[in-house]
Amino acid sequence: MSSMALADSRWIARGEERVSLPRFLAWLAPWIVLLAIGVYAAGLCLFYGLNQTNMDNRFAFGLWIFLDLGIIALGAGAFFTGFLVYILKRAELRPILNTAVVVGFICYSGAVAILMIDVGQPLRAWFTFWHPNTHSMLTEVTFCISCYLTVLGLEYVPILLRNRQLRKLPSFLVFERQLHKLVPVLAAVGTLLSFFHQGSLGGLYGVLRGRPFAFREGIFIWPSTFFLFILSAIATGPSFLMLVVAIVERVTGRNLVAQDVFRRLGRISGVLLGVYVAAKSIDTLIWLNFTSPSEGFAPWQYYIYKPFGTPVLFTEIVLFGLVPAFLLTFPRTAEHRGWRLSAAALACCGVLMNRFVMTVQTLALPTLSFDEFLSYTPSWQELASFGAVIAYGVIVYSLSYRYLPLFSRSGGEDSHVPGH
């Protein structure tokens, strides 16, 4: 064994089997290349400005905002699992908790990174904190996401400190133990923050009175999209976690989590997805029959432009909503791993499609008599930055899986849940 491989093996948890270092590096190599290309593209955007993108005054929200909304929704599994385990005391989900934190951290840090490029002048990013418009949903989103990323970082620290080498340092060991005891507080804060920023991300579309495709009535200051975004995020977060773990199991060829955990996650996801589809259907009917006509727009006007015809609406609500909700709750399909994972994938596609529709279709549709239907195709810089976030996620997760006890089954302190 070479000295490098020997040094590497010392960082891997005792008793855990991992692939050889050369194989691991070969797995990482294409992702590192993708990340490097994306970083270069992001550098171009930061150096030369947003003219490197195909966004303009009409399409101020493009691929990056779609990516942000998508991965933030998929990352909701982190706060929701924390909420279920620490607040509702559903201890049976704790085997998935570490991976939920890592996935959440990757999603949110990726979203914040892409936002830093998207704002155009990252050196002025602090303006949003010092000159906040307290009447804007985006202000709440900015504050909540910043705080929640900090919370996720703090939840990630105890997992990091359980690394085989880091554990040897007594100060790290004790700090990890003390921080771990307080994780329920962080989980509660995370739940509060996530509830509001997931909602506000939806709310910011719902308050767009000048965009009747997105505009919705609501309760007090919150449009219906506020609640729909929360519901869709907590419904698909567990599905995404299932998918991530299933992919990791496939890649590594190991069973990492008991099937019972998958079944419970699937059931939670299915029930919530059912509630979401019902709420979304009611909301759509109200919008088609009352909200939109009151703004002077006949509903059919939104669906005459290809590719945004009525099949998009059908696909979003029925194929990516009702079907997975049924598959995840109907006992025979919910018990079958293949159906369960297919349903989880459909649910994730559904939330991504919803965010795409809300971002791109909303801006593409004309709202004034002299407006035209516009299309938007992202530039290679936007696509490369998008790919970099995915590569970053794969790299961080791969490193975490290799060197950290993400799926501890020892039943010892690693899997101990404070409060139990």
Binding site: R14, W130, H131, P132, T134, H135, T139, F143, C147, T150, V151, L154, R164, R167, K168, L169, P170, S171, L173, V174, F175, R177, Q178, L179, K181, L182, V185, L186, V189, L192, L193, S410, G412, E413
Partner: protein, 74 residues
């Protein structure tokens, strides 16, 4: 806008927003500080040996336990 910026004047929105934000920020800060302070206190009073001892009793083949034992000897 926040205080100190030209044209700023307080509204209920500002107060609610700032109170909520600082409550959350203070909770996060207090949590981390508390963990750090407890760690420092345990080390200061040698109670960390007990803390490490718990690990030893639960998993005596743990490398951390070995490290703790070595430090105990010192």
């Amino acid at each position: 806008m926040f205080p100190g910026i030209d044209g700023f004047h307080w509204t209920v929105g500002h107060i609610v927003f700032i109170c909520l934000f600082f409550a959350v920020a203070a909770t996060i800060l207090t949590t981390v500080s508390s963990a750090a302070w407890r760690t420092a206190r345990i080390f200061g009073s040698e109670r960390w040996l007990t803390c490490a001892g718990k690990r030893i009793s639960r998993n005596c083949r743990n490398p951390t336990a070995d490290a703790a034992m070595n430090l105990q000897d010192v």
